[in-house]
Amino acid sequence: MLEALLVMALGSVILGGALGFAAVKFRVEGDPLVEKIDAILPQTQCGQCGFPGCKPYAEAIAKGEADINCCPPGGEDGIRKLADLLGREFKPLSGEHGIEKPKSTAVIDENICIGCTLCIQACPVDAIVGAAKQMHTVVASLCTGCELCLEPCPVDCIDMKPIPENVESWKWKFPVFAIQSRKAA
């Protein structure tokens, strides 16, 4: 009787120790779900969802505080992916957060720019270069098209220009065939 108890007690001590060690050693930093959601979000950091960036929105979704249809740049495709990941129903994009637009980049009209640096401070990804009283310009390859620089500009010299399709970014279309009418016999 006593032996059996001892064996069980020893077993629980060893296994408990192993589990405790594993919990410390293989501890997962942060919430893996947040990372997964963040990977789906488009990283425009535009704040249209009502959160100050993609990561905070991802955290809010993970906690269940935000819905999955608040991200206009991610569009329908993004909502579908989020729905798949979280096992929820697909919902159309909520209108109050904005509409899905073609991917654009900000362009500064360099003739009008007064060099106030306000847009530089607003850009969430540091894609605008310039200095006080010097002309500013947008590094197009880094611009996420978040539109956050438009509002602070005092002279309204920033425009959003859709990215044109070029030979390299052109995509083969899904094959479709015109239905031919049967020739009269």
Binding site: C54, A127, L142, N166, W170, W172
Partner: protein, 509 residues
Amino acid sequence: MLRQLFSFNGGVKPAYNKEQSNQMPIAVAPVPAELVIPLHQSVGGTPRPLVQAGEHVKKGQLIGDPDGFVSSSVHASTSGLVKAVEPRLMPHTSGLSALCVVIEPDGKDEWGEISPMPWRDMEPDDVRDVLRDSGVVGLGGAVFPSYLKVNPGKQGHLDTLVINGAECEPFITCDDMQMRERGETIVRGAAILRDLTKATRVLIGIEDNKPEAITAMKAAVTTTGESRIEIVPVPTRYPAGGAKQLIRVLTGIEVPHGKRSTDYGVQCFNTGTAYAIYEALELGRPLISRIVTVAGNVETARNYEVRIGTPMREVVALSKAKPDTDRIVMGGPMMGFAMPADTVPVVKATNCILVGSPTLFPPPPPEMPCIRCGECARACPTDLQPFEMYWFSRAKIFGKAQEYNLFDCIECGCCAFVCPSRIPLVDYYRFAKSEIWAREKEKESADVARKRYEYRIDREEREKQEKAAKLAAKAAETKAKLAAAGAADENKALIAAAVARAQEQKDRG
């Protein structure tokens, strides 16, 4: 001596249709009234234009500077005046425009400074630079910059250098005619490649439906006296001219998924590329022209030596297109691309201009449902399962399509050729591939944006802390100063200091 040949799985035997265009010798196409030379002609980055409108250029002058590691130079194909550097319609299915250098020839066709390269005495890296600056790219159609391939590989030497003269695609005879007429130059080019890659042996594979080319090349090897070069006739079966397929046939090596042929000591170049490499190194001439087959719905199908940038229309006119012509295709009937217009220029990738008509290439019959007969899998030369890739591409489940190794597909068209339901399978693969590429690119830029955003947040936090620390330090400093001055009333002294500062600022302003 009979060499043991191997075989690849699958493949098809379409009608060759080569005898139409290989009856007459290669003709030199005249210089057109206007050359439109696209800057982006090879795999990789778009070269930067080096000339401006109004400038005069010499033949062979560098007009596009390689942008990035995988990129190749572009040269003026004749002397003349640069009329514009502007977007023009590209020889690309999309019908989009890209930056081109438009040259009005002056009729003198004057070479700029060119001189033979003492490549034997140069460092291998310098020879590769010369090849890059000569704009030599793979002329079999893939236009991969050749300088990146002229490499002995990890083991320091190649076992086998394969020169691809198989030319398996129907209608096309540009390599065939070049081998017949300019075999010696090709063999010399192959010898240069042999020395640069330190290859133990060179095998020039030619499909056995080109007996004249085989004879001419064998004679060329004898005349040039080059050693370790062997002409090997290979059985005619499409796509024997695919690099991996030809390597398999000649050496028995099957390059597995995710590996390169150089990992197995084998490298493959097209015969036209060998020719261009000879011209670049021994004559110092950059790649400014290539042999182009004009075939299909024309009066006299023939091969022409065409300057890069010549509008396709003018080349087709030499062969006289028949009146019912409705389209032109760049490349052959199996792998070619429909051109948006006949005004697009000939580029380095243009091995053939195939002229089509409704009778020669009738519109495809309607697509029927896939019956999973498996014919496509039997025909696939890369041992893929085309019907699975088709299902997943069609359903837009791209991850699954990739699991079936979609990216190993060489788009040879064998599967679509044998499909009893006449499904344009390759169109689905191209669609899926470009969607996957676009997504990957999007993901890359999202990752960059995420990193930059996180960095910015960190930086803002750090700046805030630094600012606070600086202010605190300054306040402490002032306090200490005052204490040292032995001011009796601390507050009064602080006010005095502030007043002094304000006065100072006023004076400055």
